[in-house]
């Protein structure tokens, strides 16, 4: 970091993945180094799997006064590969900014999906987390990737905050962090390109003139528009050979999004499937497998 610099970071994750914890650990580490730092979440409805944001500001100068979300970040960290397709992760990213992405894809594949005047850093944090921690919570791994890509702090500054936060699980988290640091690959993005394929349109927000008295919603059943499909980091895949068409999975699906297609095969509607895995758990013939989103 330059002497008089303030770096702004935006974390994109899903409820339960630890984006907020990442931001908090980073700020604590920066403050331990004698820097000034902020970490705060974007408060929303708390739901596992739903897209969430967290923010950091880190400064060498002094107390950080601004208390508003980071809209023009220097760095964006994406904890879940699927988020690239459902939210505009590079929105407002500064020229020469850095995008740090957790993805099982190769550097070349991601380069073909993202374009702009930015640097790219990729790491397969999910695999690292599974191996180091036994669970796919990637926050500490992504901290390693972030430090590799930006060098805003020394890797060792994270050790104390991680120890304090994770206690007996600290060692594994430090391992995940170090391993991600080693395995993170960097590239320049090309300025022109197609941008990522977008799975869904972004919704338009209503103006005050469009709201009815008392904010009543007269469109009955409009919860149908609600894209719970945005929440998933895994999706179910059916082995139709094993399936005996008992329908148990469809009864247990909390979204009610499993049905039979024309051929009579059971399948899930991905607009609503939130990747909870209940169907796979309840299927007694083990015909359903949960597969990571890419």
């Amino acid at each position: 970091m330059e002497k008089d610099e303030t770096i702004e970071i935006r974390w994109h994750g899903r409820g339960g993945q630890g984006a907020v914890t990442s931001a908090e650990l980073l700020a604590l580490a920066a403050i331990n180094e004698g820097k000034f730092a902020q970490a705060f979440p974007s408060f929303g409805p708390e739901r596992r799997g739903a897209p969430v944001l967290a923010f950091n500001r880190i400064s060498n100068v002094g107390h950080i006064r601004v208390r508003a979300a980071v809209t023009n970040p220097d760095v964006v960290v994406v904890l879940d590969p699927g988020l690239i397709y459902i939210t505009d992760v590079t929105s407002g990213l500064k020229q020469d900014g850095i995008v740090v992405v957790n993805t099982p894809k190769s550097l070349a594949d991601i380069k073909s999906e993202l374009s702009g005047p930015w640097k790219l850093a990729v790491v397969n944090a999910t695999v690292i987390a599974r191996e180091a921690l036994g669970i796919p919570i990637v926050n500490t791994a992504m901290l390693g990737a972030l430090l590799k890509a930006t060098e805003i702090l020394g890797l060792e500054s994270l050790v104390e905050p991680i120890k304090e936060r994770f206690g007996p699980r600290a060692k594994n988290n430090i391992d995940a962090c170090h391993r991600a640091y080693e395995e993170t690959l960097m590239a320049e993005l090309s300025v022109v390109g197609q941008g990522p394929r977008k799975a869904f349109e972004t919704e338009r927000l209503l103006s005050w003139q469009e709201l009815l008295p008392g904010c009543v919603v007269i469109e009955a059943g409009n919860a149908k528009q609600y894209r719970t499909g945005d929440w998933k980091s895994q999706h179910p895949v059916w082995d139709q050979q094993r399936c005996i068409k008992c329908g148990i999975c469809s009864l247990f699906c909390p979204e009610g999004c499993i049905g039979q297609n024309k051929e009579g095969d059971f399948e899930a509607n991905m607009y609503y499937c939130k990747g909870c895995g209940i169907c796979a758990r309840e299927c007694w013939t083990e015909a359903i497998t949960m597969v990571e989103e890419t």
Binding site: W208, V216, I218
Partner: protein, 392 residues
């Protein structure tokens, strides 16, 4: 129109108005600090004179919550409360106004504890100033009856749809017997249109009310709410005009008494204004150019009417019946100051607080307030709040 003047307690006059308005639902908590209003309504429902659902709930919070539900299905809904009861409703008051549910409620204005007090003043009202309801003050039992009837008409107007409070000073109006003219049922039926909420809950035409408002929409919900509450004044004026055509009794947002050529004006809200009139009369006889301003419409605040009413005066003396602890002046007076501040020429303003926790203000005391106000203005002591008649 009923031509016979009859005697009736203020609370009973309110119950009579609610009966004539044919309210569908009355939900109320029946114990202190409740008044005879709901007691009488319970009787009217029990003996079949009023065909309404009477819901005796377990608290004022529940009373207002029950009112939300009944108003939302399109039922004409009434409740009454007072003092601490109003405070216990506080949270739900905001829900009623933001859901635009035209509940009518009378508040028998009382002091707040502690020390424990159930006696009259305006502390309860002032704590609900910003809850988004239309708020109207009555000064005598006739007005109480009239204004409750008008309140249903105003609240339920399709362009208004705001809950409405009629403030009835605790004891001074709720528990006093005096005379009034009632109205015949046919007259009320002609005056008061049927309540029809355009988005009432109905299983055949489902709607969602009370959805949550995250930061990306909450501000957009508040702007139209504020605009609509301000705009409701137009309907309030229309309804009061229509009522005067029926009864010959006129109401306006700001009312004056001997104020036209007055250099010094006293401002009072609620039932004490009539006592204050006596003091004005007396001082007029002595040749003093004094007059009285009564703020009838508290919300939406009638800026134009108010500024016009005080434009000619040199001095405006404001009597508050509540304190804003540690605040600039009494709560009404600080609003008055704010309303007049943008004007190039405006009267000097002097703030008094009195009539707290059930203490009366006599005619000589009102005279004294006016005289002291005039003296303080001469001495330039404009930045003091003075509590009257505090024992040393």
């Amino acid at each position: 129109m009923a031509t016979k003047r009859i005697g009736m307690e203020g609370s009973f006059a309110i119950a009579e108005a609610v009966k004539l308005a044919n309210a569908d639902v009355v939900a109320a908590y029946p114990i202190t600090p409740q008044t005879h209003i709901v007691e009488r309504l319970a009787e009217l429902v029990a003996n079949g004179e009023l065909n309404a659902e009477y819901i005796p709930v377990e608290s004022e919070h529940s009373a207002m919550s029950a009112c939300l539900g009944s108003s939302a299905v399109g039922a004409r809904t009434f409740t009454a409360t007072a003092g601490q009861g109003l405070e216990l409703m506080h949270e739900v008051l905001y829900v009623a106004s933001s859901l635009r549910l035209p509940i009518v409620m009378t508040v028998a204005n009382r002091a707040l504890s502690g020390p424990l007090s159930v006696w009259g003043d305006h502390s309860d009202v002032m704590a609900t100033r910003d809850c988004g309801w239309i708020q109207i003050f009555a000064e005598n039992v006739q007005q109480v009856f009239d204004l409750v009837l008008c309140a249903f008409h105003i609240a339920e107007d399709p362009s208004v749809l705001f809950p409405t409070m009629v403030h009835v000073d605790g004891f001074h109006l709720s528990h006093v017997i005096e005379s009034l003219y009632l109205l015949e049922q046919e007259e009320v039926d002609k005056f008061l249109p049927k309540y029809h909420h355009p988005y009432a809950l109905n299983p055949d035409k489902p709607v969602t009310i009370g959805a949550f408002g995250p930061p990306n929409i909450y501000t957009e919900t508040k702007k139209p709410q504020d605009i609509a509450l301000r705009a409701s004044k137009k309907v309030i004026l229309q309804v009061w005009r229509k009522f005067s055509e029926l009864t010959g009794r006129y109401y306006s947002p700001v009312e004056s008494y001997k104020a036209k050529d007055a250099d010094v004006l006293l401002l009072v809200m609620g039932s004490f204004s009539e006592t204050a009139m006596m003091a004005i009369d007396k001082m007029r006889e002595e040749g003093q150019k004094v007059g009285l301003i009564r703020l009838r419409l508290w919300r939406p605040f009638p800026f134009d009417e108010f500024r016009q009413a005080v434009a000619q005066a040199q001095l405006l003396i404001v009597l508050d019946r509540a304190l804003s602890f540690g605040g600039p002046t009494g709560p009404v007076c600080s609003e008055i100051q704010a309303a007049l501040y943008p004007l190039e020429t405006r009267p000097k303003i002097i703030s008094f607080v009195g009539g707290l926790g059930g203490r009366d203000i006599s005619v000589p005391t009102f005279e004294d307030i006016i005289r002291r106000g005039m003296a303080k203005a001469k001495q330039g002591r404009l930045d003091e709040l003075e509590m009257i008649e505090v024992r040393e």
